[in-house]
């Protein structure tokens, strides 16, 4: 970056348009040797840096999986933390190649902002968190509450709709950053903290006494979260889509990070196609045929990623619920590799 950025700076400073050689995203990515991936500024379980600056989470795993698909190496990825405000500009300006930042798939975003959603890697919904000692059991008891949330997300609109629809007076305190919402809620400024249910579980860890707070059962909105790419580059869009599908299919077929090498010699034709032993499914989209193998080898299947980052054995402790495979009562249903 150091050397490369100088001419860019000079060029931009002098108003000289750097002749953008309209290469495809895949060519660009291959040329620079890594994928630039936009993530959140710190949401445990989804994309969160540890003290050494190493990122982890299911959104991070998706980016690693894409890197594995392109380069066969899950570490060929760099992360850019983005605020809710910046995320779409960063993607469309080319600062990042893929946005994997718990972003809700909505019609406006899909059709009016020049974005393409590659699928859903977490089915979420907006929920409410309250103090346990208030003795509240349902969101419908929240008449007169003051509610803390983030600005600039769909949550702010959903909560307004919900309280209006149920004819409950309320007071909204909307902060710019999640850390400030947590601080204000922790200090008692608000009775209720609302955001995506997964976010509530994640932010709860940041409270002084996480055990004193509970998430109410009501989910008031549909928040399908998924990775996003720029519109107009179908090749890259396909790679993103099929990276996600491979992860889900791998779980369905029982292919894990541990057994993927053995599975290569499996007799199941679906597994053979998935891992690139049979057929040529990678080359048409600019990848090697065994891109599926590389993905599973690097980050495991969807279920492994889920369990390692947000599942019941992690501090977040989120059950699979609707994020289970279709065959196990959930929503996850990936088209077959065929």
């Amino acid at each position: 970056m150091s050397i490369k950025i100088l001419p860019l700076v000079l060029g931009a400073a002098m108003g000289v348009a750097a002749t953008a050689a309209h290469a495809t995203t895949l060519e660009d990515v291959k040329a620079k040797g890594f994928i630039q991936c936009g993530v959140s500024q710190g949401l445990p379980g989804f994309s969160n840096p540890d003290a050494e600056g190493t990122w982890s989470g299911i959104d991070v795993d998706f980016c690693k999986a894409m890197a594995a698909a392109v380069f066969g190496d899950g570490s060929a990825v760099k992360f850019t933390p983005l605020s809710a405000k910046e995320r779409f500009t960063a993607l469309s300006s080319g600062e990042i190649d893929v946005l994997s930042r718990n972003t809700t798939w909505t019609m406006t975003r899909d059709t009016q902002l020049g974005l393409n959603f590659a699928g859903v890697n977490y089915y979420d919904g907006q929920g409410f968190m309250v103090r346990k000692d208030l003795g509240v059991t349902s969101a419908l008891e929240m008449s007169g509450a003051s509610v803390c949330t983030n600005t600039g997300t769909t949550t702010e609109l959903n909560v307004a709709d919900y309280f209006r629809a149920n004819n409950m007076p309320y007071e909204i305190v909307a902060f710019e950053k999640a850390d400030e919402v947590v601080q204000a809620y922790d200090a008692g400024r608000c009775d209720v903290y609302t955001t995506d249910a997964s976010g509530l579980y994640a932010q709860r860890l940041k409270l002084t006494n996480p055990g004193d707070h509970m998430v109410l059962p009501e989910i008031i909105s549909k928040e399908p979260l998924g990775p996003v790419v720029r519109q107009g580059d179908d090749e890259w869009f396909n790679i993103a889509k099929w990276t996600l599908n491979v992860m889900i299919n791998a779980e369905e077929l029982g292919v894990t990070m541990a057994n993927v090498d053995d599975m290569k010699s499996s007799d199941n034709p679906s597994i053979k196609r998935l891992l690139g032993v049979e057929g040529a499914y990678g080359e048409p989209i600019g990848l090697s045929n065994d891109f599926g193998y590389s993905i599973v080898k690097a980050v495991g299947n969807y279920g492994e990623s889920f369990d390692a980052n947000v599942g019941p054995d992690t501090p977040l402790g989120i059950a699979r619920g609707v994020n289970a495979l279709w065959s196990q009562g959930g929503f996850l249903y990936a088209p077959p590799v065929r």
């Binding site: 902002l113 509240v136 902060f175 008692g188």
Partner: protein
Amino acid sequence: MSSETQDAAVKPARASLMNDPQVRGLFYQVLLVLVLVFLGWQIVSNTMANLERQNIASGFGFMENTAGFGIIQALVDYSETSSYGQALLVGFFNTLLVAVIGIFLATIIGFVVGIARLSNNWVISKIAYCYIELVRNIPLLLQIFFWYFAVLRAVPGKRDKWSFLFDTFHLNIAGLRGPKPVFEPGSGAIGYAVIAAIIGMVVLSRWARKRQEATGRQFPVFWSSLGLLIGLPMLAYLLTGMPMHFDLPIFNETGPVFSRGFELGTGFNVIPEFLALTLALAIYTASFIAEIVRAGIQAVSHGQTEAASALGIRPGHTLRLVVIPQAMRVIIPPLTSQYLNLTKNSSLAVAIAFPDLVSVGGTVLNQTGQAIEIIGIWMAVYLSLSLLTSSFMNWYNQRMALVER
């Protein structure tokens, strides 16, 4: 560029065009214009291309669309069904409110501290010194966080309160609550009475000054003005049959848990975000104003004070009638820029969820993606506020300026 005009005067006849300062000046200016036009064209064309690529419609059409989000404090009518334009208007008025109240408080605190800084009393002057050096060397944002987050934890929770002033005002984490005046039909007379009182005050002070100039006798203008301002509306209130009452905040001790505490919409509520922001802005800016006041007072020659005491004027009067009016000439220009700073700094509201113009604008920006329009609105509003304030202060400064006879 004075050298060049000088050159022009002694220009040798055969100098080449390159050495003619006027031609050269023209050349540089044309070059600058060309560069600027090129830059501008680059920016505009890039932006247009980017917007088109992202399918973002430019223009202010979005202002009519329904906002759909709630705002915690609105001075004008606002609900979730209002438009983005109205939401921005709410933010604008909130900015104005913070700026006006902040400037008012900062001026008072600043003058008191500035004068205290010059006090003969060692303790008082040291306290003022410590206040100034402590407050102005700590970032404002940090102070806002301190007032908001640290003090927030110290006050009672939502279902508790501290009451003071005979149980009329209450403080808890949801804000400062007090009685709200509610005007009923017929209360217009009270408004007219206030206007009448203000006119009366102006007339009275003019008359009093004329009389003092003519006869030397003083008239208690301050107290009689205060009497007018309170008395006339009171009289109107009583005569029209008391068409106004106070809406007291209702405090529920029982009922569903979220309805306990102060009921939303009852009484007059100052939200803690506003309190923290205004307090931090006032205290921070006051430390700069105090230094300005101190410098201004010190700029008044000592002979003035000595002459005043030789005339037998008491110290308080000396300060008020002799020193401050002269010091004001030195004080006003830097004071103006502090007022402007306070107004601009009120945009830090965005850090603690107070819905000012920047914070509401940010929300709109997020919902609509209209970055250029929103940032344009921000800049236009702050620029015009700056220009307005500085032209008002310039006018005031000219009035205060020394009239040389």
